[in-house]
Subunit: 202 residues, 2 copies
């Protein structure tokens, strides 16, 4: 009879929804709900409004897959960006990471994942056809493949390189090497080998 979770169905529902967020479980969701109720006006109501607004206004760009309120997104629309270069990334999070780094001025193309035989994800499940189309457009000179350095990421990179063979664009990928600030002693053999092989004149 009394064996409910919080003895309140509205709170239960909120806890259940929050516990579906990545990194959240039932316990942390309960803690978050209590925190939210304590900060009702400064956090809970703004969060509800912000979620509703993003759900309403933010959509993937039909050209590159970036999330934005406008379509095409502001990066595709930006006249100051270099339209001759397209950087291919797996997810929007990778686009954000590159934008935070602030050193890339070209366009992007979000694949939406990687090829994965295990998970049954083939070329048609990713936005690869869109990339091939864009690479054929006038003015595109280089495609930089910036998929993750995982097995699936590298497989996808090889597949895309193969598909772009006849398009006339040059295809490059991110360099492997020692992370800035990294210590050699903590690096894996593969990274060290790659860094040695790609050594640069000082």
């Amino acid at each position: 009879m009394y064996r409910t979770r919080t003895s309140n169905s509205e709170l239960d529902q909120l806890i259940q929804l929050l516990s579906k967020l990545p990194g959240f479980g039932p316990r942390s969701a309960r803690r978050a709900v209590l925190h939210l109720v304590k900060k009702k006006d400064t956090l809970m109501k703004p969060l509800a409004a912000s979620l509703a607004s993003v759900a309403e206004h933010v959509h993937p760009c039909s050209t590159c897959g970036n999330l934005d309120v406008s379509d095409p997104c502001h990066i595709c629309e930006d006249e100051r960006r270099d339209k001759s270069t397209i950087c291919v990334i797996e997810e929007v999070a990778d686009l954000w990471a590159l934008e935070r780094a602030g050193s890339y001025r070209g366009l992007y193309h979000v694949l939406g994942g990687t090829l994965s035989a295990l998970d049954g994800i083939g070329p048609d499940d990713l936005n690869i056809a869109g990339l091939i189309e864009r690479a054929d457009e006038e003015g595109v000179q280089e495609v930089i493949i910036a998929t993750n350095a995982t097995v699936d990421g590298q497989t996808t990179a090889h597949y895309i390189t193969d598909r772009l063979k006849n398009s006339g664009v040059s295809v490059s990928r991110l360099a492997h090497g020692v992370p800035v600030g990294g210590e050699l002693d903590y690096l894996d053999d593969g990274t060290l080998t790659a860094a040695l092989n790609s050594r640069q004149p000082f």
Copy 2:
């Protein structure tokens, strides 16, 4: 110029709000936002609605401090509960934990924290006056103090016991001992000593 976090102010605002949740930082908030955008209809919109609804309808019970859509809350109102016993807890989360255990049938009293000299929290900052008032009400026979077994929790327990001296109710506290399923080898000395001292006839 390009050095924004996600290059979209609505997304930035949502990430900033989410990163204020306990257990969330900027990185996990970004991950959560991408997850939410992917599950717009099944998670993001319901979550926005649920947050707005809880913010609108859920309030602390003016008697016991429990969170509910009604005031007095459904526990205070429930005729089947034992009105002679009041269990004193620090936070609503503790009430939820006791309700999940499902073995307590009395009423609750949420203090809203513990006394803490370091944080400058005195008796007037907690809902202690309300407890003293309730203990004087007709029919209340026992106050069970279930504050945490921390230094602050125990200090608060002692203070409340002292304040309840003249009210005529009996004051008890939760037993210390070996957690059910616990291994002696992993227990601290204090718990073992308490468990030994409070040993029960088999």
